[in-house]
């Protein structure tokens, strides 16, 4: 700013130009902001009003169609839809399953991509490049195709069972179980995490690692005190994105999970279409929203940390 001002005093037009640029910048940032406010923010707000019992105005049509719709009784609305969901016998097992799948899958994904990233960073070479390239393949396979393929692979007449049967082994049918969902979500989330973490580890300067090696640091010590701290932000970003993605997943639990309990993404869809209870499905959506916001806080914290380190704030 100081430079601009000194220039501005010398040459009268520069100040105007800066002002123009900032206006231009504002208008360039406007479309995405407007889009999000209009098509995401507003619908969320209206849906929230519906969930607390505001059934008139834009919510009129859906409250005519929906079953078990609660209308507001106080000035602020009603919490009946929320209590109905909390008391529903399906909700807590669904919630527990969603959380278990999210944490287990995210943990496994992080461990696996750390392994891949470290192998490539420390060892390098052709095999490491080929492996990391291969690990990106799932990124280019649509989730619905992948989920169907996994289902076909592990179901009653799937590859695993027919193959094992050749040796007289009765391989269990793992489709329609929680483990199948975990397997599917790991498969679909792995490439992105590997991409993030590998690039994070690559950016750690060689000099630091070599100095530590010269000083006699063990491999684990290098990982613990140099690589992980320096690649911390990409690791947190990979972790939060993976966790949020898994928490809201729909296709994988629909294809691979049990009918009941199921993950909340599927249950929301069941409540909305099959059971025709839009209000309850919105309540569940807000539960996921709250849980995902908790994870998003981690992401923001990591970003602020990195901004502070690089001196941007």
């Amino acid at each position: 700013m100081t430079t601009t001002n000194t220039v501005a005093t010398k040459e009268g037009f520069a100040e105007v130009k800066t002002a123009k640029l900032s206006t231009l910048g504002f208008f360039m940032a406007l479309p995405p902001v407007l889009l999000i406010v209009l098509f995401v923010g507003l619908p969320i707000f209206i849906a929230f009003l519906f969930s607390i019992g505001y059934t008139s105005g834009p919510n009129r049509v859906i409250s005519i169609i929906g079953q078990d719709v609660y209308t507001k009784e106080n000035w602020w609305g009603t919490a009946q839809a929320y209590t109905a969901v909390i008391k529903d016998e399906r909700f807590w097992p669904d919630f527990a399953l969603t959380m278990v799948v999210t944490f287990v899958s995210t943990f496994v994904v992080l461990v696996m991509s750390m392994g891949m990233g470290l192998y490539q960073r420390i060892k390098g070479g052709k095999i490491a490049s080929i492996l990391s390239m291969l690990s990106l393949v799932p990124l280019f396979v649509p989730v619905v195709i992948a989920a169907y393929a996994i289902a076909q692979f592990y179901n009653g007449v799937g590859f695993m069972r027919t193959f094992m049967a050749q040796f007289g082994i009765d391989f269990p049918v793992i489709t329609a179980t929680r483990n199948a969902i975990i397997l599917g979500t790991i498969w679909t989330s792995l490439p992105f995490a590997i991409l993030m973490i590998t690039s994070g580890l690559q950016s750690v300067p060689n000099a630091l690692i070599e100095t530590a090696q010269d000083a006699g640091a063990s491999f684990m010590r290098i990982v613990r005190t140099i690589l992980i701290p320096l690649a911390f932000v990409p690791i947190v970003i990979a972790g939060t994105f993976t966790a949020i993605g898994i928490m809201g997943s729909f296709t994988v639990p629909l294809f691979l999970g049990p009918n009941q309990p199921t993950m909340l993404g599927v249950e929301i869809s069941n409540f909305f279409t099959a059971y025709n209870r839009p209000q309850q499905s919105i309540v569940m959506a807000f539960v996921i929203f709250a849980a995902a916001s908790g994870i998003a806080v981690l992401y923001i914290w990591a970003n602020i940390r990195s901004a502070k380190q690089s001196g941007r704030i």
Binding site: F39, V40, L42, P43, I44, I46, A47, F50, P58, N59, R60, V61, I62, I64, I65, Q67, D88, E89, R90, G156, V157, V173, A176, T177, I244, G245, M247, G248, S249, F250, L254, F255, P258, N259, Q260, P261, L264, G265, I268, S269, N270, F272, T273, A274, Y275, N276, R277, P278, S281, I282, M284, A285, I288, F289, A292
Partner: protein, 378 residues
């Protein structure tokens, strides 16, 4: 995340559609384009695209049928909202003719034209009982849920629901039905089991209006279904996701018995995906559900004349013959004397008017919900 966002915005997305749609001028009254919405499985889509629409466009040159396909009626709630919202705002819903279960729901909401023989002469050939069953919609073919079995392994074919239940318990892991919210064939089995404990009058009442008192009598039937968890495919209380998944389990030999739609079974046979030794039979006391597949002309569609013309055409003897001859082997609904007798030979024992109807939508939604609360994984 995406799905939940999608759900949250669904309400307003519908309205937004109208906000945008309103700026586009509606088509002129004498439009030659008919907007057809198919809310069914792919075999129904095939019937329209390969048989009915080509014949219609040949018979009425200049007319064009524009198909929107909604697989398994997954977006029925949104379609319904769209038509309601269009009526409220006096705009064109963009649908002139609907094929699917949603038509009955629309009729109950007073959103369909009452079919009248003066405007659709071919309706005169449809029996009054079938018309009554169609509840304000236009019946154009029928299908029913049947019990499919592997004739190699099932020696004594069950004739009643009790015999089916006994067979399931005697042959653990060899029977399945799909999740009721995922498809009509599994839903039919669930309704039939809970109907065992209802009187004939109560069953009738459940097909015409929401009734929470009668719903309370489902408990016993749901317990029966819960007991089956140990005996159905997988033996762990999990069920196939949709109609197609049940057919798949039958064709691969993983199960020996299951409930299937008559038309989907025939289509699978015609396509060669269902082995010859898998056969179907009807059961009694109570029978599995079925009924006319119906069309509806939304009261606010822009091209209602076109919709009527197409619906009337589908009821013509030529098209009824074509439906019988098609790969889905659809059951005709018009007076059999007008039909090709060789084709009708296969259907002469089927009485559409006698089929047991599925519940009124509000009851069937509640049954799907009650099933998911009480049966899977318990």
């Amino acid at each position: 995340m995406f799905k939940s966002k999608l759900m949250r915005s669904a309400v307003v997305a519908v309205m937004a559609t109208f906000a945008i749609g309103s700026s586009i001028p509606s088509a002129p009254a004498a439009s030659k384009t008919i907007e057809l919405l198919i809310s069914a499985d792919t075999n129904v889509q095939t019937l329209w695209n390969t048989v009915l629409i080509p014949a219609f466009e040949k018979e009425y040159p200049g007319y064009k049928v524009n198909v929107t396909f909604d697989r398994n009626g997954l977006r029925d709630a949104q379609t319904f909202a769209k038509i309601v919202a269009a009526k409220e705002t006096r705009r064109d819903p963009g649908v002139d003719l609907v094929d699917g279960g949603i038509a009955v729901r629309l009729a109950q909401g007073g959103l369909l034209y009452r079919p009248s023989p003066t405007l659709m002469p071919n309706l005169k050939e449809v029996s009054k009982k079938v018309l009554a069953k169609a509840a304000g919609t236009i019946p154009y073919r029928a299908s029913t849920v049947l019990l499919a079995y592997n004739s190699k392994n099932v020696t004594k074919v069950p004739k009643t629901l009790d015999e089916v239940l006994a067979w399931i318990k005697a042959n653990p892991g060899k029977f399945s039905y799909n999740v009721p919210s995922g498809g009509g064939s599994g839903y039919s089995f669930v309704q039939t089991v809970v109907d065992m404990n209802l009187t004939a009058d109560e069953r009738d009442a459940m097909t015409t209006a929401a009734n929470k008192d009668i719903q309370a009598k489902w408990a016993k039937g749901l317990d029966t279904l819960k007991e089956l968890n140990k005996y159905t495919y997988g033996k762990n209380g999990t069920y196939p996701a949709n109609n197609a998944a049940t057919l798949n389990l039958l064709s691969t030999g993983e199960i020996d018995m299951g409930t299937v739609w008559s038309d989907q079974f025939a289509s699978a046979k015609a396509a060669g995906t269902m082995p010859a030794h898998i056969k179907v039979t009807a059961i009694k006391s109570p029978s599995l559900t079925g009924g006319p597949a119906t069309l509806g002309i939304p009261i606010n569609g822009a091209n209602r004349t076109g919709g009527r013309l197409l619906a009337n055409f589908v009821l013509s003897p030529a098209m009824q013959n074509a439906i019988m001859a098609s790969s889905m082997k659809g059951i005709p609904v018009v007076n059999s004397k007008k039909l090709d007798q060789t084709l009708f030979e296969n259907f002469k024992d089927v009485d559409v008017a006698d089929m047991r109807s599925p519940y009124f939508p509000a009851n069937s939604d509640d049954l799907k919900s009650a099933w998911s609360l009480n049966v899977p994984g318990k």
